[in-house]
Symmetry: C2
Subunit: 398 residues, 2 copies
């Protein structure tokens, strides 16, 4: 198999260590760089943040990072000081096996909130996980499987980009946020690249890419205790740190990769039948546009009408109206799958059956709002709301 | 029947005029004062507001108000200038029958968004509605029925309060907000009292009462195009305008009446199986407390776990954490139906089966959050999220 797309100098593993009840499902993943990598992290804004988030905040940005250890099945959140000790131990166990310092290892956890980690299992897992490390697509995908919780599908996005110093490779994996169920509501992502990025650049590149990708998706707006995106760049593809057009090109490609990855999350929301893309144009500022898009995307009434293939534009217009952003209704246009439904405060005549059919026939729906307030725009992605979501999230007992 | 509780000098009617397809359901209601009443209104903050809201904003506060006309089945929202003309005509038709000026009549509408009112039916309805006006509990309840859309139950709250100038009566009706379905998401309420209130007092009294009642409930946070609360006080119970303790007593009782009425709305949310009461104490400000309460109440993950009788406190703690309010997690306590689940960043051991049983056995659930930031508190009410809600809101075609 051609595996040229794997970033140079990285190895991965994923295996089952006993955190998930189903022994077919891996629940412990490792991502290791063979040399020191620069690392950046973007984290949940939730005040109630999990122990691994506290640990990673402390260790990023970093210039000597070598590994990320990730477990699923237990979020190590709301676990107080013991949780912090446990996260540190997870990193230390991996460091010991790899001959590293504990501070060179980052940690992510996802799963049930409020339960302590079974540390004996995790210490055994560190030994096993390091033994299984491989530089292969099979190992990469096994690691990507190991971070999932109730996701239906594995989420990865990989790409390459040419620079004046040769090809750069980017390989990223994620697990779903919200809607993913009873155990937790966490979005995790790990991005690896062999680009040579300076420590000064790496955080800004990741932050910008996350703003345009993971910060533009929502399922039910529940910012989790564990949300984390980590980027490791080990520089093996380039002899010198990238600058100028090379740097811009890699930065842009990381952003595109994360957008590709992020869109897989609402598309795989529990029970979701449509990915909803919401584009707000003609706003006075990007913030205004995003606020309106997020308010529409956060409306259960909008989400349910999309699930029912119902072009109920009144709910969308009404959601735009309570977003808290001032606009002139006479300059307001609303389109659903490119059909104009509402224009300047007046309803348009349209073929509802035809629009409904266009919604039913496609697994994504486009809602476009056009204002006459400026030339700024924002785009977000969310999922529809179905009975399957509710069943999934209520049929569980703590 | 003892009908002493009906405010003096008011008459009501409700009948079917053809806006709803089911001819058993009234869809046109009138509330008429026999003399000039002072009137106040509190309205939706939605920029996309309906024609009757625009009309009422213009006519309140008022000192010569005589009637409220309310139709269900059509919201007259997103209907542009024709909608404004139609709302004016609704008022004018009623005024003509009653020998009033059009400006003495207020209008509320609820129902589908974006369709024009069938004005011929409404003109006929004005004649019929005025003929049916009665000062009786039957007429009051018929009017309360006529404003409903998909509410399961009629919503009324009535009370009396003693003053040094005799007994004052308050009778209020409402229809549900949000979650009430496919046609719209509107909360309407009309409050009538025979208290003698000065025009200077009436708006402040209503605003304060609404802040403590209707502004503390949510179903899915969808502020509608039509939300309206109107208060008419015709003064028939007292010879002089109330002041001092009398005024405070009536003001307080209006607030209590509206709280009683408001709580019926989430309790009757489509498919709701629990009313959720959320109390946040120990906050630095009322605004902080309310923001945290609303964030918890707005979380689909919290709403679904309550529907499933699941004491999944991690979701509640996590929602509190992303409310955007700074607090010290070490002073954070969380109780569900009075059982302490999470204390100072550490999980508490508790009998999950027992707490789950307490949720299953009662149609309301109490979530209490205690902070250590100050002595302010806020309380809100919302409903849980069930598959029935989703079915109801997606099984509809525009």
């Amino acid at each position: 198999m051609n595996e040229d797309w794997l970033p140079l100098g990285f190895r991965w593993s994923g295996h089952h260590c006993g955190l998930k009840s189903n022994s077919d499902k891996p629940d412990y993943s490792l991502i290791v760089s063979d040399n020191d990598a620069v690392a950046a992290g973007v984290y949940t804004q939730n005040l109630v943040c999990a122990a691994p988030v506290i640990l990673c905040r402390d260790r990023t940005p970093g210039s000597r990072t070598r590994a990320i250890v990730i477990n699923s099945g237990n979020a190590n959140a709301c676990t107080g000081s013991q949780g912090i000790n446990d996260a540190q131990k997870m990193a230390a166990d991996v460091a010991l096996e790899l001959g590293l310092e504990a501070e060179q290892v980052l940690v992510m956890s996802t799963g049930i909130i409020g339960q302590f980690l079974p540390m004996e299992k995790l210490s055994v897992a560190a030994v096993e996980g390091v033994k299984k490390l491989r530089c292969s697509s099979a190992a990469f995908y096994e690691a990507a499987n190991g971070i999932l919780t109730t996701d239906k599908d594995r989420k990865t996005a990989c790409t390459t980009v040419e620079t004046s110093q040769g090809t750069v490779r980017i390989a990223a994996m994620a697990k779903g946020a919200g809607m993913i169920g009873p155990n937790m509501a966490t979005m995790l992502a790990a991005v690896t690249t062999d680009a040579n990025l300076s420590q000064g650049d790496v955080h800004g590149i990741l932050k910008k890419a996350v703003d345009k990708s993971f910060n533009c998706i929502s399922v039910e707006g529940h910012t989790s205790t564990n949300d984390t995106v980590l980027l490791l760049a080990n520089g093996q593809a380039n002899s010198h740190p990238l600058t100028g057009n090379d740097l811009a090109g890699v930065s842009d490609m990381i952003e595109q990769t994360l957008i590709k990855l992020a869109k897989q999350i609402p598309a795989d929301g529990e029970g979701a039948t449509h990915l909803i893309e919401i584009l707000v144009k003609g706003a006075a500022s990007i913030e205004d546009a995003k606020q309106i898009a997020e308010t529409i995307g956060g409306s259960n009434l909008v989400k349910t009408c999309v699930a029912g293939n119902d072009p109920n534009w009144g709910r969308i217009a009404s959601a735009a109206g309570y977003a808290g952003i001032d606009f002139d209704i006479s300059g307001f246009k609303l389109r659903l799958n490119q059909t104009l439904l509402f224009d300047g405060g007046e309803p348009c005549s349209f073929d509802a059956a035809l629009v409904s059919k266009s919604m039913a026939e496609c697994d994504s729906v486009l809602i476009e709002v056009e204002l006459n307030e400026g030339d700024q725009q924002a785009r977000i992605w969310t999922s529809d709301l179905t009975t399957a979501y509710v069943m999934f999230n209520s049929d569980y007992h703590t």
